[in-house]
């Protein structure tokens, strides 16, 4: 059950899910990740392909009906995917708060 999973996302998966809040295709995802991370995270095409397949199997993302005009396949995040993403943001917040408060105290 995706809803009960307590998973730690990889940076790549986290950014892919974020890039699919709006419909996007492979190349768009790659560009978006590079842009929002200020060029720090660069996703290679083979890695992205594997990740998209796994995320589809997990039903965290789904393909959109193929647009006849565009030959590129687009994807979008699902309700399950959004839940996972929100839980991950909570986890990251906890890491940040703990880290900052302990460093400041120390």
């Amino acid at each position: 059950m995706a809803g009960n999973e307590n998973v730690v996302l990889t940076e790549a998966v986290y950014y892919i899910l974020l890039s699919l809040i709006k419909p996007n295709h492979g190349y768009g995802i790659m560009k978006n990740i590079e842009e929002i991370s200020n060029g720090r995270v660069k996703m290679a095409p083979g890695t992205l392909y594997g990740a998209i397949n796994v995320l589809q199997e997990k039903r965290w993302i789904k393909p959109l009906e193929e647009d006849k005009l565009s030959r590129k396949k687009e994807y979008i995040i699902t309700k399950e995917g959004k839940d996972v993403l929100l839980r991950e943001i909570e986890r990251l917040r906890e890491l940040l708060i703990n880290g900052e408060s302990l460093i400041l105290e120390g």
């Binding site: 492979g26 190349y27 790659m30 890695t47």
Partner: protein, 176 residues
């Protein structure tokens, strides 16, 4: 103008072959066809490419290879040619790094797939040595000898690939 080069590389050291192809591209020779041990180039000094060679799915029942090649093409990675299950991919050299995999797990998976191929060939050669050594025929003995040499080559490949896998696994402990 077209140029043909005959050259052999060990399949467990794809980086060396990729580097050679890149150097050729920098010299203005762009790969367009690959045969076993033979590379065909067209002369074009206006562009430069970076190459990556990948072992595609060996048992491609669901047509996954075609889907994968199409996806890479959409990402600006072009398949130059295929040599059996080896895909010769390239991307325009725009000073940015070119890797098909950016995560360690995918790199390990690719190396393990490569190693499986060597293991498969190794077992076939062991079988060949056993069968051919039973026979007293000189021809069979010769095939047996060739298979024995192949076993040494395959074992070397497996050793090199295993070392690479171990290196990546160690790295995975500290990073994705």
């Amino acid at each position: 103008m077209r140029r043909v080069f005959n050259k052999l590389f060990w399949s467990w050291n794809l980086e060396k072959e990729e580097k050679w192809l890149r150097e050729k591209s920098e010299e203005g020779l762009q790969l367009y066809k690959v045969h076993l041990g033979r590379y065909y180039f067209k002369e074009d000094k206006s562009i430069k490419y970076k190459y990556e060679i990948q072992l595609l799915n060996i048992f491609d029942i669901k047509g996954e290879n075609e889907k994968y090649i199409k996806f890479l093409d959409e990402m600006g990675v072009e398949l130059v040619d295929r040599l059996w299950m080896w895909g010769y991919f390239r991307k325009l050299d725009n000073e940015k790094s070119f890797e098909i995999f950016s995560d360690i797990d995918s790199k390990i998976k690719h190396l393990v797939k490569l190693r499986f191929l060597f293991l498969f060939a190794l077992n076939l050669n062991i079988l060949s040595v056993i069968i051919n050594n039973i026979s007293r025929n000189v021809g069979n003995k010769l095939i047996g000898l060739i298979s024995s040499i192949s076993i040494i080559i395959m074992a070397t490949g497996i050793g090199v690939l295993s070392k690479k896998v171990r290196k990546f696994k160690r790295e995975r402990i500290i990073r994705e």
